[in-house]
Structures are given as C-alpha cells and as structure tokens.
Symmetry: C2
Subunit: 513 residues, 2 copies
C-alpha cells in the first residue's frame, strides 16, 4: 500500500471509528419477510363486485393497443376479439392466461447476498423513480444530472434500509435521451451491488439493458433467472402504447420481469370514484400481465399499481391522500386473489419541501404500501413535488422511515423472553426496569433507533442549534456521500461493460427526445 493509499485508508478507518453510534449497516437484510398480516379491508362480496366491474370493462369497452401489430397478433392467437386496435377479452380469459406467471420469484443481485424475493411475504424497498428535477436545501431545484443519479445510487447503497437500487432514480438530463439508459444501468452495476431496473423508453433500450446483464451475469444465467426489472406504464384510460408493450415483451422474452403499472389520477385518467378507478386499474394491469405470458409463458411479472387523486378545484394531482391509501389495500387483496407479486404505493407527496406536508403524505402512503402487502415498493424514498423532484433531504428522511418499517413489519414476537415474565417478579411494583437483568439482556436489540429524529430534551436540542429534521438530513446525506465506498466489481466485467457502452454510443447520434 502506498503512503497516500495508507493515509487515505487510515483516514477512512478514523472516519469509520468516528461514525455515530447510529451506524445501522449491520442491520441490513437482503429483503424483509413480513411477520404481520396484510390489512384486508374488503369482504368477499365487495371484492367480487370490483372484479366483475373490471371484467365488464375488459369484455364490453376493451383496451386499445397502439403501434404494436405483434401484440395484436398475440391477442388474436389467444382468442381475444379484435376490432381494429381495440381488443376485448371474454370473462375468465385473462385469469386463465395469468396462471402461468410465478407467484414468487427471485431477482438476483450481482452480490448474491443481496438477491431479493419478489412475492409472498417478501417486501423490497427501492428508491423513487422518474423525476426530471433534483433538489436540496443548498441549491434548491434544478435539472437532474448523471452525477445526481449516481449520488442517489450511492446514498441508497450505503443505507441498510433499501434492498434494491431502483431504476431511473432521477433523469440524468445532461446525457442524450437515447444514451441515458447505458449510463444508468452501468451506474447501478458500478455503484451498487443490489438488484436494479433497466430502461423501458424504447424496445432497443430495454434490450441494451438486458444485454448488459448478460455481460454481468452470463447469457445462460439471464435466460434462466430474473436479474432486471422493467417498469412499464399503461397509457390510462384503457390504452397500451406500442413503446410500452414492445418493452414489456422484450423483458418477458428474455425471462425478465416487467412491472405493469397503470398510473391513474382519478378524475383525469379514470373516474373520480375510488371503486371505479380500482376496477379500471385491475383491468389494465391484468391485460399487461397476461401479455407477458403470451410473449413467454412463465416469465416473471409484477402486478403494479399507482392510484392517485386530483384536487378538483384546480385539477392539480394530489399524492399521499386517503383515497389511494385505501385503494392500495383493495388492489392488494385483488393481486393476492390473482396469485401475483404486487408493486403498490410508495412514499408520495406533492410538497415542494421536506416538511410536515411531505412526511404526513409520505407516511400515510408508505404505510398503505406495507399494509396492502406490496412486495416491491418503488418510490420508497426521495419523492417530492408530485414526482417532479428527487430531494436529497427527503431521501434521508424516507430512508429512516424505511428503517422504522423494518421493525413495524417484524410485528410482535411472542416468547418467554419477550413476555418478560421473570422481569415483573424481579422488579416488582413501583420500581424501574432500567437496571433489571431483563433490560440488560435485551436493551441492545430493543427498539427502533431513528437516525433523523431528535429525541433529546428541548434545552439540549436548543443548545445544539434548534435544527429541524430537514436540516439534520442535509448534514447526513453529505456525510454519507463522503463516506461512501463502491462495492468491488470484477475488472474484466467492468471493461466489458464499458466496451459495450462505447460501441453502442458510437453507433448512434445524440438524440434529445
């Protein structure tokens, strides 16, 4: 080791020792296995009413498939009724097709210890996805760059509370649109060793994303295992665009998992009444999921959903409101009846700051995600401004909430030690438990310990500068980026990936749309 390297190493060691006692890295789990039941809010009759409504939309109104003749051909083959671009589905047809989709699958990470189970009792937290802007308390709002994109990967990777590196965490707007996917997929591979998502904005970009996984994992492995997700959106109401269905089919063809997500703002892309918006979402998602099975029977697929409401006086979208929270619970019940893994809800807000509004909306929305039984929770952290901005400070606050939800999803353990029966006899009425044998035996593992909350007495908080949670988060993300260390990556693989990217980039002119 050179002097400089040793100095750097020594410095790192010193910083490591200096790290606050809030270092939770040893608490990282590849994914959560939920120990509390899902919260089932509707009874059988009501669920059937919604399913019947979805079936009628599919049979009577139908879904338009634009710019993808192959998708129409697949539907025709499967027995659907085709009328120009409109496809109608007889009752029961889609449910039959969906039986071949796996209820649970593993998405492999390049570090096998970080592979995630998608489905069943598994719960996976991934960062928010898709903001054109980023914001922080120092520089305000601005367009996202590749540097920001990589920063968020690093922040997620260095937090124990995420299980997945996500996808388009923010748009790297300084990279041409037709080349972004190469830099994004590479950044996920380079700066994280967790599972991640690829591009969906064009069929060839989906294929590039998957091809890079073949370099990383080997082509055979990729053909037999899920290693990448592609998040495809319905063009609600009731339209599937060719860009999306071609990407969806590219993922399925490669045995990779598409996440099928209608994005319905009630009153705009769906009815203003919750039950109707839910029925529409179920119809649209079933169609997308079934199409993956027509493309490749048995391909993994995730039943996704993104319900939201509208402030009807202004037409503004709203997020983190009670209707979609309740809607998520219903969608969860229906996904389980279809025996499909679920992506639902996340940490949503329209606030323009990491303030009280942001966390009221975000917490309601995130608790809906864990209660509804979502297996893959995209948008777990960073979401502000109605998904237009990715916030550095909110990312830290949300990561902390994700940590709390690990404890929440663990529920209550019941055994002799947890019931503490001996402790009551030991301590007796009127005495404190602080020094009791039971407390001493359990205090190290007891209680969720937040890294952003200030629990100190008022005077102590005041003496420390009267900081609010966002200001504490501002300090924390800078610390995390300073302390970040990239996980090791095989050099030959790294070279092969760089070589692939260089060749693909050389082969096309920059495009900004």
């Amino acid at each position: 080791m050179s002097e400089a390297a040793r100095a750097r190493h020594g410095g790192r060691e010193a910083r490591r020792r200096e790290r606050s006692s809030h270092d939770h890295s040893h608490l990282h789990r590849p994914y959560i296995t939920r120990n509390i039941p899902t919260y089932d809010i509707l009874g059988e009759e009501s669920l059937q009413a919604i399913e019947r409504a979805a079936d009628r939309i599919l049979a009577e109104v139908g879904i338009d498939f634009r710019d993808d003749p192959e998708a129409l051909a697949l539907w025709k083959n499967a027995g659907a009724k085709i009328d120009d671009l409109r496809v109608r589905f007889e009752q029961g047809m889609l449910r039959e097709i969906l039986k071949s989709a796996p209820p649970i699958f593993t998405q492999h990470a390049r570090n096998p210890a970080n592979s995630v189970q998608v489905g069943g009792k598994g719960v996976v937290f991934a960062p928010a996805y898709g903001s054109p802007f980023v914001m922080d308390m120092d520089r305000g709002r601005r367009f996202g760059t590749l540097q920001d994109f990589q920063n968020f990967i690093k922040l997620a990777q260095s937090s124990p509370w995420f299980h997945h590196s996500g996808g388009t965490i923010c748009e790297p707007t300084d990279v041409p649109v037709n080349k972004r996917h190469l830099d994004m997929v590479y950044s996920h591979i380079r700066y994280s060793d967790r599972a991640f998502m690829g591009s969906v904005t064009a069929e060839e970009r989906s294929e590039d994303s998957i091809e890079m996984c073949r370099i990383l994992f080997g082509a055979d492995f990729v053909d037999r295992n899920c290693v990448i997700l592609g998040n495809v959106n319905v063009n609600s109401p009731l339209v599937w665009d060719g860009t999306m269905t071609k990407s969806l089919r590219a993922y399925a063809r490669a045995n990779q998992a598409a996440v099928i997500v209608p994005f319905i703002l009630g009153g705009a892309m769906g009815p203003v009444t919750n039950a109707g918006a839910i029925a529409q979402a179920v119809a649209e998602t079933m169609v997308g999921c079934a199409l993956t099975q027509l493309e490749r029977k048995g391909a993994p697929v995730i039943f996704g959903n993104f319900l939201s409401s509208t402030q009807l006086k202004t037409g503004s979208p709203t997020f983190g409101t009670p209707e979609p929270a309740i809607g998520s619970m219903v969608i969860g019940q229906i996904a389980r009846r279809l025996n499909l893994p679920l992506r639902c809800s996340g940490n949503f807000s329209t606030s323009k700051l990491p303030d009280a509004q942001a966390m009221t909306e975000g917490t309601m929305s995130m608790l809906a995600a864990v209660h509804c039984g979502a297996n893959f929770i995209l948008h777990s952290a960073g979401f502000l401004d109605g998904l237009l901005s990715m916030s550095y400070e909110k990312f830290i606050l949300d990561a902390d909430l994700c940590g709390a939800l690990h404890t929440y999803l663990d529920g209550v353990k019941i055994d002799e030690n947890q019931l503490a029966e001996g402790a009551f006899a030991e301590v007796g009425p009127g005495n404190h438990f602080f020094g009791s044998a039971h407390t001493l035996a359990n205090y190290e593992t007891a209680y969720w310990d937040s890294e952003t909350a200030d629990n100190s007495p008022f005077e102590q908080w005041e003496a420390a500068g009267s900081l609010d949670a966002a200001t504490r988060a501002n300090k924390l993300w800078k610390e995390r980026l300073r302390e970040y260390e990239a996980p090791p990556l095989d050099e030959a693989t790294d070279e092969a990936l760089k070589d692939f990217i260089a060749r693909r980039k050389d082969g096309m002119a920059d495009a900004w749309y």
Copy 2:
C-alpha cells in the same frame, strides 16, 4: 340590532363570504362510524399467550394500592388477596367483574347534536392533553396560560374534524393549581358545545368537575347519563396511587366514565420487550376498569393505553415509533375481547418543531390509533416535544390529518355509481374523464381536500412565497381565532356556573402544587 352590532354582523358576514373554499364546517359529524375493519395483527394463540402473561402478573406479582383504604376494602370484598398494600387477583376474577361495564355508551354534549358514541364502530377525535408549555412560530416555547387553553378550545371547536373538546389541553399555569380545574371546565362549557373531560388531580377537583356538569345538564340527567370523562393514570409499573383511584371512584360513583391509562415507557416503567409491556398494560388497565365496577356496577369506563419506547442510549422517551404502533394493534384486539370501549395511541412526537419528524411520528402513531380500533383518540392534535408542549401550528396540521382520517375510515363504497360502469363506455379508451357526466355528477363529493397541503405546481408555489406547511398553518390558526364565534349558552346556566366557581374559589387559598 344597533348600528354597531349591524356593522359587526355585516363585517362577520363579509368575512364569512371571504372564507376560503376550504371551509369544511358543513362536513362536521358528531363522531365517525368506521367503515373499515380493525387491523388484527395477532392470531388466537399469541393473544392468549399475552392474556396468560397478564393473568400471571395479576395473580403472582400483584398491584400495589397506595393511600386509598377504601379501594383495598372494595378489593377485599370482591375476593382479591390482600397483603398490606399488595392486591393479587385470581385468574378470571377481573374478567367476571368487567362484564358489567357497558361495551358502548353515549357521552352527552351540551349541544345534543354533538353527543358522541364511545365504543363499537364509533371513533372520536379529541385534542392533546397535559402539556405545561405551548409554542408557536412567532413566540417560541413558553408556559401555557388560560388564554392559550381557551385558544385551543376555540381552534378545536371551529374545526369540523374534532368530536370532543378534550380536557387539560395545556396547563393554564397562570391559575393556581387548586383552582385550575374550575376555569378549565368552565372554558370547555363556554367556548365549545362538544363533549369534554374533567379534572382528576384530586378527588374534590373531580367532584367539582362533575358538579359543574350537574349545573349544566341537571343532577338527574347526570346520574343517568355520561356527560364527562376523567382520564386516570396508573403509576406504572403495577402501582395505583390514591389520588388516581379516588378520582376514578368519584367518576364511577357519579356514573361518569373514567379512562384507565397506564403510561409505559418501555425500559423504564415496563420491560424493553413489546410483548411484556403489552401484558403489563393489560394487567394494569383491567384492574382499574374493574375497580370502577366495584364502585358502581354498570358505570361506563374506557380501556385506555399509552405505550411508548425509550432511546436506550440516552434514556430519552421516544414517541411515534413502530413498536408502540404495533403494540396498539394488539391492545385493540385484547380490548375487544374484553368487550370494552378503547382509548389508544394518538398523534405523538418528540420533535420540538412542527417539521418532518413531527408528522412522520404523528402520522404513524395516528394511523395506529385508527387501525387498532380506538374509540376515543385523545392527543389527536397539537402534541410536540414528548407531550411537554402544545403547538399551535401542529394543532392545525394534525386537525387536517384528522380530516383525512374521516375519509380513510369511510373506506371504499361499492355501488353502481362508485363503480362508474357507465363512465367507461361514455369516455372510452384514450380520453379524459374531466368533463364526463360521471365526473360532473360526483366531483363535489369526491376526494379529501386538505387545507394545509400545497398541491400547486412548483412555480406557483414559489411565486406565493415558497412557504412550508408549518408557515401555512401559522397563518391558519390566526385566521381561525379571528373568525371564531362562541356557541350560544343559556345565560342563567352561565351565571350559575360562574357563581359556583366564585364560591369554590373563595373557599380556598391559592395553592401552586
């Protein structure tokens, strides 16, 4: 009407017309009837394990009753084993006694339209209780005064989202301790027409509180109906102090409802393990509830609970963390098995500001309250600083969350209109629902509309001053206080109450402890 009165009236009318479109007063309901199930997280076997642990604490360790020989005599009569101050209870004894307590009762308000159902599917929101300090963004933290106390009553009364005026919303520290209860009860009666709580800090103060209700409602009515609640705390672990049991008995004797609440900070007043703290809480609460039945069989009583955790590194209490949220759900299941109305959880936080921390903790805690099936949710609004401070801004933010929870508790309605089946045929694939007949018929009642959230586009929010939610709340509480109008109160009753207070105050020297 005099010129001046007419001018004032005209001014009021003008102000009324100016009120924002966010005026939700027409949405006030006396209480919520929940339309979503409780969230039952434990199965039969686990619940029985906790109940058995509680039974063993009661039979083997027992509970100390201090400074209340009459309570000991009541227990002796009932067949408990007495050893000096220690009382032990054979398995099944308390459950038998508790059978006489009503599962549902009505607490009458002086405005009969505001009477609340406590128990069953009823959910009642009341402000926070007990802070010595108040805070706002202009003046910071300071000791509470009677003026502050009355301000919070006015803020609650003018919000549609509370159903109850609460009790000691903040301590009016400018009034002698031994006379506060008179001014507090009078203020609830004068500035609110909703149900409220009385004093418990001494037996005679409890009796004064009830006596004032006799003036308001008539003595016969009070003997036959619940018109006031008294919130009594266990001195955990496993001690009932005489001040509390005497107050508890005073309420029960008058056929008024005591709320029985152990306040357990795990690691301090109870074990650090959640299951043990829950078992302890169940034991302590069952004892208090049963004592009300020994005092007066059939008296209404509320099974209360206040679980919290500790930051074990510092010993600081924590609030709004995941363990008590999960604990609340278990307590709810056990209260329902006892067939008793439940008070549980609330909007808790240790934050010293109405910031992101405050609402993350508050929302997690408040959702636990509605999920666990709590019927009476004290601390629904204003709680900051670990219950040391009542915040004007957080009160407004929490009130807004209470509003959202009205919609949340309404769940999903399933009928032809809500399923919107005609709308899909009308709108068809690819078109917007904005102007559809279904949207026009439903938009006025669709969607929760927050009064503190800013859903506008970033540029519009920026042009309006880039305000955070707390700053918007600061503006709102001042508006509410300016616009507040006291509900009418019969003049003779008012005089009689004032006369009673004057006589009681004259009869004793000021005491400040």
